[in-house]
Symmetry: C2
Subunit: 222 residues, 2 copies
């Protein structure tokens, strides 16, 4: 029987590739999506399709209401900016990756799993502080202090296989692994049919990645 | 103007004392309760009364559905045990403190606050791994890597003022600070009116603490 892993799956292209990588490594993938009040709910619809197509053993969506704390263009009534600037952008969701990894850690404990996969990426990371290697290392250390698995068992490993890949590398990896990018939605403000805006940071980085890889991006724009 | 702090308030005796301590230290207390699917929902009603009585500047309850991952007597259909045993008990909620501190961290970032208070306690901790000093230290390190405040600002400090107190010390501190323990609910399976079972670990530890402190416990039993 293959070992269980918890894989954070958002519905975007990065986490779809992570899911494909975790499967290739032989894990039985328990996909976790987090409904945190994001304005782009079509991302969650996409996560269902991604999990079905890439053969996740299970898929759960856990709700955490981050709208109630606000503070980001992705969860509050603040416009999504149409071009990148210096510093940490307003699309940064306070503590989002910490919260999502924590929930993944909880499920990993319940499953008796020692492996958590996430699509955190330090190259095209838009300046988010919780997308750096030091953050992942620190979370892994915390996970091993926080849990039964860390105290009594084999310990927890946090995998971030995209950490040092460019968007073009991620597109190529996905192609190699047979990921159908047509089912993924990356846009921060995709409409209810999953059609992208073409202007936000996420759209821009994705389009550049496919172009640099010499691949056709199947994104549907509105 | 006093500095804002985020204080995790469950409605139990420990977090009520933490709130009183944070106020005594001059913080403007932004109380955070987390509705994680606990079976003892009267705990959340108690948190409203605790915040009102102890002068919290604000009080938010954030919902995160930990029932969907299960794995604990507090969130799944597993009986709450009536006496403590060896090892980590079934009332342990996987990654609960990690998740609650992560949400507190998100709110602290939104508020521009550098201070998070929690009622974690290593003495009467029932064997939970996420109640140890090393866990809090590790979370503080993570918080400083994960956030804008850590990267660009003054950094985040995680306060766990009860860490080395016995339950009797906590009761005495609360008495000194004027905490009305009659509004707090500690029982893992309190009924909808907040009446305690008298038999679970939480009830037992609370009763022993008041007895050791030579104080009267105003807990209402059913």
């Amino acid at each position: 029987m293959s070992k269980p892993a918890v894989v954070l799956v958002s519905g975007g292209m990065d986490s779809a590739v992570v899911l494909a990588i975790a499967r290739e490594q032989g894990f039985s993938c328990h996909a976790l999506s987090v409904a945190y009040g994001q304005r782009h709910v079509s991302e969650l619809d996409a996560s269902d399709r991604v999990c079905a197509l890439l053969g996740a053993a299970a898929h759960k969506t856990v709700t955490v209401d981050l709208r109630s704390i606000g503070g980001s263009a992705l969860t509050a009534d603040i416009a999504v900016p149409e071009q990148g600037g210096a510093g940490i952008p307003i699309t940064y969701v306070p503590a989002r990756n910490t919260i999502m990894l924590s929930i993944a850690l909880g499920w990993a404990e319940v499953l008796g799993s020692s492996d958590i996969f996430c699509g955190v990426n330090a190259v095209d990371y838009s300046g988010y502080p919780d997308c750096r290697p030091a953050f992942i290392d620190s979370f892994q250390q915390l996970a091993n202090l926080a849990t039964k698995a860390g105290v009594e068992g084999a310990g927890i490993r946090v995998h971030a296989p995209l950490m040092r890949m460019s968007k073009a590398d991620i597109a190529r990896q996905g192609q190699r692994l047979g990921v159908d990018f047509a089912v993924t939605v990356s846009c921060y403000q995709a409409d209810e049919k999953g059609r992208a805006c073409a202007h936000c940071d996420a759209c821009r980085l994705r389009a550049e990645g496919f172009r640099d890889a010499g691949m056709i991006d199947p994104t549907r724009y509105r």
